[in-house]
């Protein structure tokens, strides 16, 4: 008989691989030793945003012994057709954006590869490039669907009539810039062929997905592609699917017969692996004098590429967060000579809630109503109301003077702002396997990826409780595509999805009456689930200071209160929440891809020029959660927590800047030069 152990779930366990990471023992994709004939790849990227590549000439002086191959569309192996045109690398003469991979140099040393790539003569017939998104474009079109599978347009009631008839109205346009995921670990692959099996050490958020994609492109049976992703240094969505580095490394390894390592340089991440589209959002809100919404109208414009359609679901949150008799949402896209946007932390929700939650603040001002009260009067969920009310208490909202530009401390204007937060609680099918080892310990396997969030640790806790053993008797194996299928580490669904499969496998083993192994596939149960309308909620509060002399903005306090189901590990959960909030602060104040339409690309493409927040930018950041605020639909009772921190937190800061200064900035980021003329 097993003694009942203290439950592991709910304990603030430290990350299991933490010591490996801080001592350098943890290996990332570009760090594996794979034999002594390793070759290195370097990508030559397009210097123009549009045109045709007619030839590639290699300087014979540079093409020394160290260069093993120069691949371009004129000589690269043909790939089978996949569903992501960004992965059809070196297959066509067409140049669709500046920074596109046009050639790959493979050499015995990294230095030789890089030098040869720099000296390649690329013969290009350039064509004019069109890179600027605007509301006024006459080629905006309505996509059939927005991501992942939502209708592009929705409408209930007569929005135009309701808006025109509303006693109090707000009609405003907000814009958010292109943002770049910029994970600490650049996208990297070490590829080798073992016979006709392809092995990839690759940094990604979905090992089985990358394996399936590479199998398709190289026309291999799926079981002949083996993707190893033991540790990942962040992804924020940009590693959700295979990226060109994986395909190029595999191609180069096949051509040269050697293992090939390709780590993208920081600058290449800004064009080659995706970004968050810029958005322009028109918000029209109508309300009764007592603050009941009568009309909500949200139209969002975004860009996509010439290669394929990526339709960010910017206005989708507006469909459900507040109740109103007339609600209309829509999306328009422009096809530009730009890289294809991809997922970036809370795609859709993060930019869309800038528009909605800043417009709600403007409506509260127009109504002379407290912005929390306005939200509570219209909230579609009591969980949201709970977060707003309790958050206001804990933040200290109640003695706030609603008028702007009232609090001053020396040169600093001080203000506070609030915004709602929400994120879908999603689950996806996954499979896990649990084994009883001869040592008496347990091994639990699933092909999940830990992006640095603590997934490995939380799965260990979940498994321990399901097996009813202490957590130190459980060894969790993840990060390998040959393990039982896991869904993507994305959509804040990883823990819910993988944890369900792990729970199932561990319970099955425990209940098996002595079996040494059990496998559990959650597909049937997940498919029966009605996931529509299931969300986590939260409220974000910000206190900012704005220097009246310089326009500099500093966040003195950022506070988030969440109703996100059961919190499985308070330590790693807190990191997820405040990480999202920090990224939200970056979205509000710092992060911006600066486009130069004349050269057809963003000109700030490293972390010195693309600013993310530093520690000094914030004095106090706190995340808390409501323990009794409803449970998620999975055996753990959890909801996703990876993204909700960036939803609404930018708006809370923008709203606080208004309250501090009386200046309403509607194009993010809120930089000092936008404030200075008005201070």
């Amino acid at each position: 008989m097993t003694a009942t152990s203290e439950r592991a779930v709910g304990q603030p366990l430290r990350r299991i691989e933490g010591p490996d990471k801080v001592t350098g023992a943890a290996r990332y994709a570009a760090e594996y030793q794979v034999g002594d004939d390793l070759a290195y790849g370097w990508v030559a990227q397009s210097p123009v945003a549009g045109g045709t590549l007619t030839g590639v000439t290699v300087d014979p002086l540079v093409e020394a012994d160290d260069v093993l191959a120069v691949l371009w569309h004129g000589n690269a192996p043909r790939l089978a057709e996949g569903d992501d045109p960004e992965l059809a690398v070196l297959q066509s003469d067409r140049i669709s954006y500046r920074g596109q991979a046009l050639a790959l140099v493979v050499a015995r040393t990294l230095e030789a590869a890089r030098a040869a790539a720099a000296s390649l003569q690329l013969s290009i017939d350039p064509s004019p490039a069109d890179t600027v998104l605007s509301f006024a474009r006459d080629d905006l079109y309505t996509p059939e669907k927005v991501n992942p599978d939502f209708p592009s347009e929705t409408s209930t009631g007569d929005v135009s009539a309701a808006f025109d008839a509303a006693p109090v109205r707000v009609d405003v346009t907000y814009s958010t810039p292109a943002l770049h995921n910029s994970p600490m670990e650049p996208h990297a692959t070490t590829a080798l062929w073992e016979g006709d099996e392809l092995v990839l050490y690759d940094s990604n958020q979905h090992p089985p997905g990358v394996a399936a994609t590479l199998a398709t492109l190289f026309e291999l049976p799926p079981e002949r592609v083996h993707v190893i992703t033991e540790h990942v240094g962040g992804g924020f969505g940009s590693k959700g699917t295979a990226r060109p580095n994986a395909v190029l490394a595999a191609m180069a390894a096949r051509v040269t017969g050697r293992p090939v390592r390709l780590a993208l340089p920081r600058q290449a991440l800004f064009s080659m692996v995706g970004h968050r589209t810029p958005t322009i959002q028109q918000l029209r809100l109508g309300a009764t004098p007592d603050g009941k919404l009568t009309a909500i109208d949200h139209l969002a414009v975004a860009h996509t590429s010439r290669l394929f359609e990526f339709a960010e679901q910017t206005a989708v949150t507006t469909r459900h967060l507040y109740e109103a008799p007339a609600v209309r949402t829509g999306h328009r896209l422009a096809r530009l000579d730009m890289p294809t946007p991809r997922w970036m932390r809370a795609p859709g929700e993060a930019p869309g809630m800038v528009g909605l939650e800043c417009a709600m603040d403007e409506l509260a001002i127009a109504l002379s109503l407290d912005p929390i009260e306005l939200r509570v009067r219209n909230a579609s969920s009591s969980l949201l109301t709970d977060c707003l009310r309790h958050g206001a208490d804990r933040f200290g909202w109640h003695d706030r003077d609603p008028r702007p530009r009232q609090r001053r401390d020396g040169d600093w204007w001080i203000g506070t702002g609030v915004a709602s937060a929400t994120y879908p609680a999603m689950v996806q099918p996954s499979t896990a396997r649990a084994r009883r080892l001869s040592t008496g310990d347990y091994e639990v396997s699933i092909a999940a990826a830990d992006l640095g969030t603590g997934a490995r640790t939380v799965l260990t806790q979940i498994a321990a409780d399901a097996l009813d053993v202490p957590h130190d008797r459980v060894r969790v194996r993840i990060g390998d595509s040959t393990l039982p299928f896991a869904s993507v580490a994305g959509g804040s669904s990883g823990t819910a999805s993988w944890g369900w499969a792990v729970t199932g496998a561990c319970r099955a083993l425990r209940d098996s009456g002595g079996s040494d192994e059990a496998t559990f596939d959650s597909s049937d149960l997940v498919e029966q689930l009605n996931q529509e309308g299931k969300h986590a909620y939260g409220a974000h509060f910000a206190e900012v200071r704005v220097d009246a002399v310089t326009g500099e903005v500093r966040v003195t306090r950022l506070y988030g209160l969440y109703a996100a189901g059961r919190i499985l590990n308070p330590r790693t959960a807190r990191s997820q929440f405040i990480g999202g909030m920090t990224m939200g602060m970056g979205m509000a104040l710092h992060e911006e891809g600066v486009l130069d339409p004349n050269v057809g690309t963003w000109v700030n493409h490293d972390l010195a020029e693309y600013h993310v927040p530093t520690h000094a930018d914030i004095e106090s950041i706190t995340a808390e959660w409501l323990d009794d605020a409803g449970e998620g639909q999975n055996p753990m009772g959890s909801k996703g927590i990876g993204e909700i921190g960036i939803v609404g937190s930018p708006a809370a800061i923008v709203n606080a800047v208004w309250h501090a200064t009386g200046v309403r900035v509607r194009d993010l980021p809120v930089r000092l030069d936008k404030l200075l003329p008005h201070l």
Binding site: T550, N604, L672
Partner: protein
């Protein structure tokens, strides 16, 4: 990175072969080499030369060896006591790790952070003379409003050099033609039609020290940037001020991040000397300097910013 050879300088008169560049802390040069913007054939490491001392000068001033690290300079007791503007400026720059590497001489010679200059695939009259300047019509929010030309509007990124400019620093140089010294302001060339020529040093000339005169007034440095740390300035002001009975008797002002060189505000100083130490005088002095500003589409805010900073910093000192 282009292949290069490396050697260590063992004496000041070692000389510098053609195609060679001196290497000190490497915090800027090595970055530019990785980016393919700087392509020296030979690096001559000068950090082993005995240039890392801070010594008192007979006139009460201070001699700062060119090899003195930024961290050591900022922490030096005499710098903190007598030249707070310098200590503040150094500490406002970069990060602790970078300041531990960066040297006094190297800091003065750092290159612009113009995004086109930092990208070898872009046109730039500085790194590829004659290729044009995309910044005038493109991204120039953080580029020059003073001293630029149609060829180049790059800004000098240093904080330390702005403070040294306000302190009337003198640069000591040794080279093939012997030693010489000159005011710091004479180290820099305005871009004109030759923006690839940035410094007045001849090939082989090495900055050995920076001298500060004694007897300064009260001083301060204020830097404004887009985030709270680890960012280059979007505008900065270094000021040294002496006020007697409510009147400005001496003032030295320098601006950072607004010009191709640390910008000594002579017109402002002239307008202020002998005037009452009031906000009105300070603003009028700033206006006198900024009258020459030629802002572009996205950098006119720097005029307001510098004007506000001048008034705020001088008010703080008076």
């Amino acid at each position: 990175m282009k292949t290069f050879t490396y050697r260590t300088a063992t004496a000041l008169d070692d000389g510098l072969e053609p195609g060679a560049t001196f290497l000190a802390g490497g915090t800027n040069l090595v970055d530019l080499m990785k980016l393919g913007v700087a392509t020296p054939e030979v690096l001559v490491d000068v950090t082993k030369l005995p240039l890392d001392e801070v010594t008192d000068l007979p006139d009460g001033g201070l001699r700062i060896g060119a090899g003195v690290r930024n961290s050591d300079l900022a922490a030096h007791p005499r710098v903190r006591r007598d030249y707070p503007v310098l200590s503040q400026a150094v500490l406002a720059g970069a990060s602790g790790q970078l300041r531990n590497m960066a040297t006094t001489g190297g800091n003065l010679l750092q290159r612009t952070r113009c995004r086109y200059f930092m990208d070898a695939t872009m046109p730039c009259n500085k790194h590829s003379p004659g290729s044009g300047c995309p910044a005038r019509s493109g991204d120039h929010r953080n580029l020059a409003i003073l001293g630029g030309s149609s060829s180049c509007i790059a800004t000098h990124p240093s904080d330390m050099a702005v403070a040294l400019t306000a302190l009337d620093a003198v640069v000591q140089v040794s080279g093939p033609a012997g030693a010489r010294s000159f005011p710091l302001g004479d180290l820099y060339l305005l871009p004109g039609e030759t923006p690839h020529r940035e410094f007045t040093l001849e090939h082989g000339e090495l900055i050995t020290a920076v001298d500060l005169p004694g007897g300064s007034g009260s001083s301060a440095y204020r830097k404004v940037r887009d985030r709270a740390s680890y960012a280059f300035a979007v505008g900065s002001v270094a000021a040294v001020l002496t006020v007697a009975e409510g009147t400005v008797t001496d003032v030295r002002l320098a601006f950072g991040a607004v010009a191709p060189k640390p910008w000594r505000a002579h017109a402002a100083e002239e307008a202020l000397r002998g005037r009452p130490a009031t906000r009105e005088s300070f603003l009028a002095a700033a206006d006198a300097e900024l009258a020459a500003a030629e802002p572009l589409r996205d950098n006119a805010f720097k005029i307001t910013l510098i004007r506000n900073l001048v008034a705020s910093v001088l008010e703080g000192l008076s």
